[in-house]
């Protein structure tokens, strides 16, 4: 009767050549999921971990208790930021293809994840980004010229030429440095939040990692420490269905939602439509209030889709159907907010087209300015001496010696 167990190997619903199939995706109708008080008990919150918080319905109307009730002006700002992020991404991909920068990573289709969250938080709140949350910089007003200069490793590069493209940071805007090692920022955000609580400040921390990265130890550290100390932190897992070539089932998404791990550890967990600007805004606002008022950490799973390649080194056609992005059931975050605004009578196709053109021009101008500060091959170049700085706060003798040697021996 007992037949030997066999190794279970998760399979994505579709590979190249197959018809896209998102039958596995569990959704809830817009407005259907109740909104408990931010300080509600875990038992009341637990259902949110397996349902899907959605606000904008298929007719682009806002529905239900999670409506953030934003002004038309705020909504247009969100739309502008998302469009700017997309325009920026498109431009940077092009210049990478032209060999002007060494590498790039787009966030196409996931813009709401960063923009809505950043808008729902306070300026004092600290953000711990992943490499795919450039929208956080856009929403907090980082100048696209500065972001481009980082990608160019030029004389205005905030990283002084040390990092690959997209590893931005901004101390002034309280956006942490992106790490090349995935997920390390998760426990760091918890520690930052613990420090805020220790100091009696009411700022919260928020961090973003991909669903694939949630398999790293740092996920477990973050949720455990977050639960133990009730740290005021929002732990966002961006489930865009893919981790390079491996689909979310290989991170454990096949059996249960990622949000469900929250209640499993004794913290709040919410699964939200990551392509629904209003839902992401509302959930972030809820989690931030819970954190600020002593309710502790929340694990948020943002359900979205990585519409672009993993990076400029990747070719998704090798491992998933080309048509998958169009087949994604939760649509496009920009299109959905745009239609919602139009439905409200607060936006129009004409204004939209004008805005897109304006932002494209703005990004083009930014690029022209950025390359003026040098590219890796032309124009002003960074001083190689910078290579030895910031390893330590002060230059130690052995590095001073090596720097001198470098200057004497270089071609």
């Amino acid at each position: 009767m007992t037949r030997p167990s066999r190794l279970h190997v998760p399979h994505p619903p579709a590979r190249p050549g197959d018809r896209p199939d998102f039958g596995y995706l569990v959704t809830s109708p817009a407005g259907a999921v109740p909104r408990p008080e931010p300080l509600a008990r875990l038992a009341e919150i637990e259902p949110l971990a397996t349902s899907l918080v959605r606000v904008i319905d298929d007719d682009h109307r806002a529905k239900g208790p999670w409506q953030p009730r934003l002004s038309a002006e705020e909504l247009r700002t969100g739309l502008r930021y998302m469009l700017l992020t997309r325009a920026y991404d498109d431009r940077m991909l092009r210049v990478q293809r032209q060999g002007k920068i060494s590498f790039y990573m787009k966030s196409t289709g996931e813009e709401a994840v960063s923009i809505a969250a950043a808008m729902a938080l306070r300026p004092g709140d600290m953000l711990f980004p992943s490499y795919r949350t450039q929208g956080l910089h856009i929403a907090r007003g980082s100048n696209t010229v500065d972001l481009m200069c980082q990608c160019l490793s030029n004389t205005r590069d905030m990283c002084k030429g040390r990092q690959m493209p997209v590893f931005y940071h901004s101390r002034a805007r309280k956006i942490f440095s992106v790490s090349g090692n995935v997920a390390t920022q998760f426990p760091q955000a918890v520690g930052w939040a613990m420090a805020a609580a220790i100091k009696g400040e009411d700022d919260v921390a928020a961090a973003w990692i991909g669903e694939g990265s949630s398999a790293e130890a740092d996920f477990h550290y973050a949720v455990t420490f977050g639960a133990v100390y009730k740290a005021p932190v929002i732990l966002n897992v961006v489930n865009n269905q893919w981790a390079i070539s491996t689909f979310q089932g290989f991170a454990g998404g096949e059996q249960r939602s990622f949000a469900a791990r929250g209640p499993g550890y004794g913290i709040a967990g919410i699964r939200v439509d990551g392509n629904d600007f209003l839902a992401v805004y509302a959930v972030t606002q809820w989690a931030a209030e819970r954190a600020r008022r002593g309710g502790g950490a929340t694990l948020v799973e943002l359900v979205t889709y990585r519409a672009a390649a993993h990076s400029t080194s990747d070719d998704p056609a090798r491992y998933r159907p080309k048509e998958e992005a169009e087949a994604w059931p939760l649509g496009d975050p920009i299109e959905r907010l745009k239609q919602h605004l139009i439905g409200l009578g607060e936006w129009s196709q004409e204004r939209h087209d004008r805005l897109v053109a304006e932002l494209d021009a703005q990004v083009a101008a930014a690029w022209e300015e950025a390359i003026g500060y040098g590219t890796m091959t032309e124009g002003p170049q960074l001083d190689p001496n910078l290579m030895f700085e910031d390893v330590f706060k002060e230059l130690p003798p052995h590095l001073a010696k090596q720097r001198a040697q470098m200057l004497s021996e270089r071609d």
Partner: protein
Amino acid sequence: MAQMNIVQALNSAMDVMLGRDPSVIIMGEDVGYFGGVFRATDGLQKKYGEHRVLDTPIAEGGIVGTAVGMGVNGLRPVVEIQFADYIYPAVDQIISECARLRYRSGGDFWAPITIRAPCGGGIRGGQTHSQSPEGIFTHVAGLKVVMPSNPYDAKGLLISAIQDDDPVVFFEPKRIYNGPFDGDHDKPAVPWRTHPKGEVPEGYYTVPLGKAEIVRPGDEVTVLTYGTMVHVAAAAVREQQVDAEIIDVRSFIPLDVDTICESVKRTGRCVIVHEATRFSGFGAELCATVQEECFWTLEAPIERVCGWDTPYPHAFEWEYFPGQKRIRAALRRVMEAGR
């Protein structure tokens, strides 16, 4: 015989071993359906099935931890760490478990694991896609550690590593995956086709662990190097017109002290070249060993030409890289010393 680059040679080594030994399995991030971000496992899952070539969660520590258990249960896992820069989450399972298991269990348990890790820079990878952390692992009792410098050795050493009953950390200099690189990044890339070591048998063969190789015999000075730097050093020696003996160390643990010291005793001079940072890098152990064994024949201080003691920068890659110019300067100093 066939023409292979290093990626193809590695692929062929795993193919051969999957075919010969049912206990061999491949696991790692994106190694299955996709065939690996560097294509090293391309086609293997299709050929040997999903139970022999496994995609894994993104958790280096979990990959090595489960591989240890598989090894204890009779399998021979070959693990890919996508970049050597990402091996750190697995360090506890590698050092405390893989390396110690046989010893702590009185020889009753062991895990014959091979851990592949692409390393090195010169690919615009910045500080988290360019590291050469081999030095750290050479300080761990119970690990074998190797790094090939060409397709022939890559396949032969990987087969030896997979067959070995001790854990082996196998570093792959990714800058030379597709062709030898002499350090001049302005020159067009050269394919392995143009290099004798690009000739690789299609079938089974081994290159033993623990043996260094003299890639250029010479009498005036011994150059100890490995990985990408073998080719850079060779170019520098050509330019410098010095009769240097270039030794590709290849195997760090066990280390071929005999070949190394026989050479230095003959030449009386030694330059050590690696891409990893200098301070406490593997070059320090090479220098200390040579100094201890060859002291009385040394005519000049042993010099180390290494990466600077900073993270690997994105913009200053070629100021960082220990290129021909720096190697030649060291050769000059060592040749002139005491004259």
